[in-house]
Symmetry: C2
Amino acid sequence: MQQKRLTAVLEEMKKSKIPQLIITDPATIFYLTNHWILPGERLLALVISTYGTKKMVISKLFPIEENLGVDLIYYDDVDDPIKIVEQYVDKDQKIGVDKNWPAHFLLRLMETIPYENFVNGSAVTDSVRAHKDSKELDLMRSVSKDNDQAVEQLSQLISKGLSEKEMAVELAKIYKNLGNSGFSFEPIIAYGANTADPHHITDDSTVKPGDSVTLDIGGVKNSYCSDMTRTFFYKKVSPRGQEIYEIVLEANKRAIEKVKPGVRFCEIDAAARDYITEKGYGDYFLHRTGHFIGIECHETGDVSATNTSLVEPGMVFSIEPGIYYPQEKVGVRIEDLVIATKTGVENLNHFSKDLQIIQ
Amino acid sequence: MQQKRLTAVLEEMKKSKIPQLIITDPATIFYLTNHWILPGERLLALVISTYGTKKMVISKLFPIEENLGVDLIYYDDVDDPIKIVEQYVDKDQKIGVDKNWPAHFLLRLMETIPYENFVNGSAVTDSVRAHKDSKELDLMRSVSKDNDQAVEQLSQLISKGLSEKEMAVELAKIYKNLGNSGFSFEPIIAYGANTADPHHITDDSTVKPGDSVTLDIGGVKNSYCSDMTRTFFYKKVSPRGQEIYEIVLEANKRAIEKVKPGVRFCEIDAAARDYITEKGYGDYFLHRTGHFIGIECHETGDVSATNTSLVEPGMVFSIEPGIYYPQEKVGVRIEDLVIATKTGVENLNHFSKDLQIIQ
C-alpha cells in the first residue's frame, strides 16, 4: 500500500463520517497499491475501514505476487465473491461504494445489508486523488513533456496529405517512440469543418488549403496521462480563423493567469468565458473550460461555471477554451495542462501557442 | 425503434414479471433504436414498460435529429436527470435496471423509490440480444469474412520482423482498408513464450525461429464484431508445438460439430475439454471454450462447464480451445465464430486451420 495515500483516504473517511469503503475502481486501487488490476466483469474490491480493515477480494485469475500490505482473499469462478465481501463489512454501519460500481453487485449486497447504509463513497477517494503528491507531479511533468514533442512531430505531418485516421495511426507510433504506453484518450484530429465540432470523431477527411487543423492528443507514461490541444492552419488563414484564434489564445492565457490557491474554479472558467463573450463569441464556446487529470484523463473535478470549490496546491487540470464556428467551417481550441502550486500556476505544456500556418 | 426487437423485449419482460425497465447500456439502446449514443458520464436512460411507456432521458449535448419512435426528454447540465427518470417510472412496481448501471445513479433513485422494487433487469434484454435476427446474422457473416482476410494479410507480415505492437499498428491499417471502423478488442499478437499466456498483452517482442505466433484479432463493421484466432509457427515447429496444435485443432472441430439446437453449452465445452484432458493437457486449457458475440465482442452467455442452458437458433458464439504450455514456451489457440442454425451449425470463419509454418 501507498501508506501516505491510504492515511489521507482514512482521514477523509473520518471527516465524511463514512467508516468503511468498498473501493472497486481499478484506478483508485492502482493509486493506493501501485498495482493495476483489470478484472473485466469480475468483482475486485478493496475493503478498508477506519478501524483497520484492509482486505482485497480478487479473482484467482489475477494472482498478485508482490506483498501489497493488504490481505488478499482469492475466489474462483465457482465462488460467490459478494458473499466474501459481505464478511468483511460491518452491516450496521455506513458503507461507501464507488460511484461506478455496476448495479448488479450493489443489488446483490443489498439482499443482506440494509440499503440505507450504502452511500456513494467516491467523493472521499476522488478528493484525495485530486491532490497530487510530488512523485505524481513529476510524472505529470514528464508525460506532458513527451506530449509537447508528440504535438510537434504530428504537426510536421499535416502537410503530408494523410487522412485524420492515418494521422492517428502515425501518432500511435510517435507515442511508442517516446516510450508512452498508448493514448490517454482517442485522439481528436480534425480538419476544416470538423474542427467546428468539439466532439468530432477522427475520420477519413483529408486536409485542404485554408483548413484549421485541431490536434487534441494525449499519451500515457508510467500510468499518468497527458492531454493538450493545438490548432494550426494549413497554407492560409481566413480573417475569421485569425480572429477567433487570437480570442481563444487570450482566453487561454487569462484563465491560466487566474490559477492560484484560494481562487474558485468558476472564476477561472469566467476568466476565459467572459472574455470570449465580450468578443461576441459566447454562444460558440460550448463546453466547460477544463477537467482534472492524472491516472485517468478525466478525473473528478472541473473548471466550470458551476464549480464553486477552491483551487488547492497540487491540483492538476486542463485549461481549454474553444470557439466553434460552423458557419465558416472553422474551430479553434487551445489546451494546456496546469498544476496549481502553492503560490500560483505551473504550465506543463511548452509547445508554442503562436498562430502557425503550415506550408 | 426496431419494433420487432422491442416487442421481443416486452414479451420477455412479461415472462420475467418485470413490468418496467430502465435501459442504460448504449449497446442495448443501439440494438433497440439503431442509434449509438455514447453519453460518457452523463445519464442516458430508455424507460419502457409493458403498459406503453417509451421515453428516452438524454442530455442536450447529444441531440437526436431522427425520429426514434420514442419520446425524447432532454436535460441540460443544470437539471437533475434522476428526477426526470423518476417521473416516468411507477414507484410501486418492480423496476429492472441494467447490470452495469453506475451505482451512484441507482443510489440516487433509491432515495425516493423503495429499494426492494429494483432488480437487475439485464437478463431480459441480454436474452433477446442473444437471439440474432437475419439482418444481424448477415452483418456477423460480413464482418467475419473481413476478419478471414485480416488474418491472412497479417499472417503475411509475420516474417517481416515487426514487433507485436508494430503488427498491431499494421492490423489497424488492414481493418481500415477492409472498411472496418476499428478493433472489436485490443488485438492479442503473441510470439513464442508470450503465446503460453492466454491473456498476453501485445508488447515489443519480436519473432524468433521456432516461435509459435498467436493472432487473436477482431474488427467492427456496421456495429457488429468479429473475433478469430489462428496460431502459426515461424520457420520450424517443435514436436511439442505440433502435438498441441493437433490436439487443439481436433478439440476445436469436436466442439463445433457438437453445436445444434437442444444441446447444452456445457456439452459443447466438454467436447473440447474432455478431448484435451484425455490427451493429458487438461491442466493447460485455462479458460472457457467460448463467449457470445454481436454488437459487443463479449456479450452475456458463454460456452463453459457451468452453462447448462440450451443452444437455440440464431445464437452466435466463439469456439476457442487452447493449450498453454509455458514449460516449453509454446501455446496454441484456434478460434472460430459460429452461428447455431435451426439444424446445426454455420462456421463464420473460413481461413485455413491447417498447421502453417511461415518461412
